[in-house]
Subunit: 390 residues, 2 copies
């Protein structure tokens, strides 16, 4: 069982104070570095992104904007308006530009969708990304559907459908793969859900982690965004932070009915993308970039699943099944998640996400992100040492 | 009188089509370059910013982020949350961090303030920046107070006070200096207005152009932001795009009552600043940067007023008094503003802002921004040639 030393306990208390200030989210590694002295963070396994995609984007940025100093134009002048950036995205994903709403990160879209479009009530699956229930309108009722630990937090589709129907829900939120456990709803099942729920006001599907999931040995992408013409109540939310590794750029978009996009951009969200985000979306619609991206996406998937496989062999922890770029683990030796997270941070410099503040997670849970190959190896070795040699 | 040739008329029609798509705002120079072929834009006098400040910011960015490649951290990781960035701003402007709401550009703040905080009715001075009336809640009534051309679009304070009172207004918007005419309300008069209107729900003061106004020969800054503790109904909106020349970064903030800031950040606006904006605000609280900035601010003010003085000597136009970084001019020779703008664009490569779509501007008006010294000289020479030799 993990025990903190006196010194470690003092640092842990300071950490908790900083975390308190970040509400229901973890403080970023930059915030932590500024505020928590004496700790050398080697691996940020709290941060859910593909670091190889960051490398690739930086390579493009370097040659397109930095070497020739065109970055000045991007930072000096106003970026284009929402619908112009939507046109660039449309080229890449083959959805009509009229169906695309560009956001200042997916978080802005979650805020807008939950506040402006969701009415009456909404079914939210637990555990979840907390902003989905935190950002609802005060008149909206959240109906929580709990994933069962006994069922490895997998979604029982039939049970879920009857829950939504018997509660007379008006909207639902599906994060696929789900955050924080990584549960993946297969494409065919998603289509069944879209069909079952075509009578709802809103089917909100957050595909922020979909680039890490696969169903065939080609690792093909399976997004429901293409169904926007068939299901006008569908809203697909897409963060660029995770798959492209560019959280600081603040880029995201949603696929929605044309009417909904028009109603949002009619009196707001004019210049909500910054110049670097607009540049990112121009790269995102560049076939050369996308070809290189597919390579780093697949490489990261392979390494992530190698990492998950290794982690599965560590004693005294349970690793829940994941198709995302992170795993949810549960401690089985009586250690607390708080002690685990702090020991890993202080002794090994690995920053992970405690699960205790997540509603619907009853037990000692930690979410660990997959990073670069050598970082994953280091995480594996440290967690193994911590859980097997204590 | 200005007449367009056949070729110029064709380009003018194409330009109008592009402008149509931009709603009540001008298309950006980048959008224009992409869509309007065959035109070489030499000076963007539509764009209201201090280009010397852009130079300065780029110098810092180069040495802080580009030379040592730290730009990766800024783009890869999540930026800090709203209240942490507010702390950095607080250091620079000496307002409590609890009174600062950080926005994704001032436009996000205008949207939030007009939609979420302004109720019942609001007095808006015309002509104005159109988002102030476009973004109001559908239940909010806009009470328009017209600046008079006969009075050089200057604000008659007594008349304005009696208008606000007799209309039983609940909120008011003051842009100081005003956009698009540059009218400046002096500091003492602003204090009088704050005192008169302390009973209102909201006094919204947009100080996006305040860095260009002055009352003494030291060009001292006169912001009402310091009064936030005395007047809890005061909301000061501040864009960084104009004075710091960084529209593409999307950085702005507002000074508001503590309660108002808390109510907005309680369930939204978590990560609404991007990494470059967070970096900008760290520079903004750096005394070395601010010292260098004061020099380029004053240089730009001096050059702007030299430009305005010259423009005043051109025949067939009237230049309205301005304390901002632009001038509103009226054509007096029977030429239309549309022909003036297109001729200036096509023949001289100077992009200016037509005033015809601005409510409250009845006549042939154009807004021209002050740019770098040599660009201002070029604008002066071209307008002189155009208006005096036709």
């Amino acid at each position: 069982m993990i025990k903190l030393s006196k010194e470690e306990t003092i640092i842990a208390e300071e950490f908790l104070r900083i975390k308190e200030d970040s509400g229901s989210h973890s403080p970023s590694v930059l915030t932590l570095k500024k505020m928590l002295s004496g700790i050398d963070i080697k691996v940020d396994a709290c941060f859910l992104s593909n670091p190889y995609a960051t490398d690739l984007f930086l390579k493009y940025l370097e040659s397109d904007l930095i070497e020739n100093r065109l970055i000045r134009d991007v930072l000096e002048f106003y970026p284009s308006q929402n619908d112009i950036i939507a046109s660039a995205i449309a080229k890449s994903i083959k959805v009509n530009k009229e169906n695309i709403f560009v956001g200042n990160g997916a978080i802005e879209i979650i805020q807008v969708v939950m506040k402006n479009l969701v009415r009456d009530n909404v079914v939210i699956i637990l555990p979840t990304f907390s902003s989905y229930y935190e950002f609802v309108n005060q008149n909206t009722k959240c109906l929580f559907y709990n994933l069962q630990k006994d069922n490895d937090f997998l979604l029982d589709i039939d049970d879920y459908i009857s829950f939504v129907k018997s509660n007379k829900a008006k909207s639902i939120v599906l994060i696929n793969p789900n955050n924080p456990n990584g549960n993946y709803i297969k494409y065919e099942e998603m289509i069944r859900l879209l069909e079952e729920f075509r009578y709802l006001d809103n089917i909100i599907v957050d595909e922020s982690f979909i680039h890490f999931a696969y169903e065939d040995n080609q690792y093909s992408l399976k997004s429901v965004a293409d169904f926007i013409e068939r299901y006008s109540n569908l809203i697909v939310i897409k963060s660029m932070s995770k798959d492209f590794g560019i959280a600081g750029v603040r880029a995201g978009y949603a696929i929605m009915g044309e009417q909904t996009v028009r109603s949002l951009t009619k009196d707001g969200f004019l210049w909500n993308s910054n110049g670097i985000a607009e540049y990112f979306f121009s790269v995102y619609s560049n076939s050369g970039f996308l070809k290189e991206y597919e390579i780093v996406r697949k490489r990261y998937i392979i390494e992530t699943h190698d990492f998950i496989k290794r982690m599965n062999h560590i004693k005294n922890i349970k690793v829940y099944p994941s198709m995302a770029n992170f795993i949810l683990i549960e401690l089985l030796d009586g250690s607390t998640a708080a002690d685990f997270v702090m020991k890993l941070l202080i002794k090994y410099g690995i920053y992970t996400r405690i699960g205790n503040d997540k509603i619907g997670l009853d037990g000692e849970f930690i979410r660990i992100a997959s990073r670069k190959f050598e970082e994953n190896l280091y995480i594996y070795e440290c967690v193994k040492e911590l859980m097997e040699e204590n």
